[in-house]
Symmetry: C2
Subunit: 200 residues, 2 copies
């Protein structure tokens, strides 16, 4: 089932637009970039841009949606018996290991941090990941899609990942992100039991 030429071309266009939007925004600042410029950089008409994205902001965070898909596929590939939080741990470790992708991802995260108008779109992209994760967890556990367990788990996990990456960026990217991810997963697994003893 090789996807037809049509679909591949569409995907390429979407990626080109997203990449162009991100790069232009990083170098010139989001406000200085117009849709026209993004379209030109991706070699399509401005009108076509809006066939793919409904705003500049959405295009800039398009890569997050792809990461969501990636994460979903990796999770689905984990052994069925593995505890959910451990699967997540393993998947995150693997994804963070992909250095080139990580670089682009960090650039985007920094941009979002400096451009408040991107925050809502970024969160919407995370929500897409969450829906995907919910579906996978429901299938994995054999629970009904309307059960609360898969939904709450997916939401909590995505929220924790978001916190991990945010904190890591805020701390000047000290230490390794994988370690932070480990710690937030531990917190979830411990049931958010009351405060650990204040540090030294």
């Amino acid at each position: 089932m090789t996807t037809g030429l049509r679909e591949r071309k569409k995907l390429r266009t979407r990626r080109a637009l997203g990449a162009a939007a991100l790069e232009l925004a990083v170098t010139h600042g989001l406000a200085e970039v117009t849709v026209e410029q993004i379209a030109e950089a991706a070699d399509v008409s401005p009108r076509t841009f809006f066939n793919y994205f409904s705003s500049k902001e959405e295009a800039v965070v398009a890569a997050d949606v792809e990461r969501a898909r990636d994460m979903g596929e990796r999770l689905a590939a984990r052994p069925a018996g593995e505890p959910v939080l451990e699967s997540v741990r393993a998947v995150m470790r693997a994804m963070l290991g992909d250095a080139p992708r990580s670089r682009e991802w960090i650039a985007q995260a920094r941009l979002v941090k400096s451009e408040p108008s991107l925050v809502p779109q970024q969160l919407a992209a995370y929500a897409a990941s969450e829906r995907r994760l919910t579906a996978i967890l429901a299938e994995r556990t054999g629970l009904d899609a309307t059960d609360l367990y898969p939904a709450v788990t997916a939401a909590a996990v995505m929220a924790a990942m978001r916190v991990a990456t945010t904190r890591w960026l805020e701390s000047d990217e000290h230490g390794d992100l994988a370690g932070v991810v480990d710690r937030v997963i531990d917190l979830l697994a411990d049931g958010l039991r009351d405060a650990p003893a204040p540090g030294p």
Copy 2:
């Protein structure tokens, strides 16, 4: 420290704009409502609208930000020794008890469900709640503001609340929301342990 006339007036204007935006969007559909109409309904100039909100969408979900403040105050008022998740449980119960506010809140939630462009803004509003909650938890537990525990707890709790309300709305508002909230909190407290047995 009675807040000055100036501040009170600003707050009234903000609320008037938010309420007008919500009501107009509910009755006519978001796309059919212009900023000019919202401004007129709130008795200010269109230009002034943009001094308060940066888009229609933001105005429509403005009430969420107020709810965030409310939730924050209620949480801060809980006894210091109470386990965090129990405080959240109690606060949610109390907030849901306020029927008139709940009505408006449900109307807004339904609108968001039917207008996808509101989702990002809604999530951003939740993020504001989350920041507030993080600060309160940090103070309560005496942990440093950069510690992961308050941030992860706040994020997980807000995510769970979001799931609870979404599911409740999707299930035709059967049963009581308070019960759903109880169940999602239980899931968090149990550390998202692997799947409960599939239902009957």
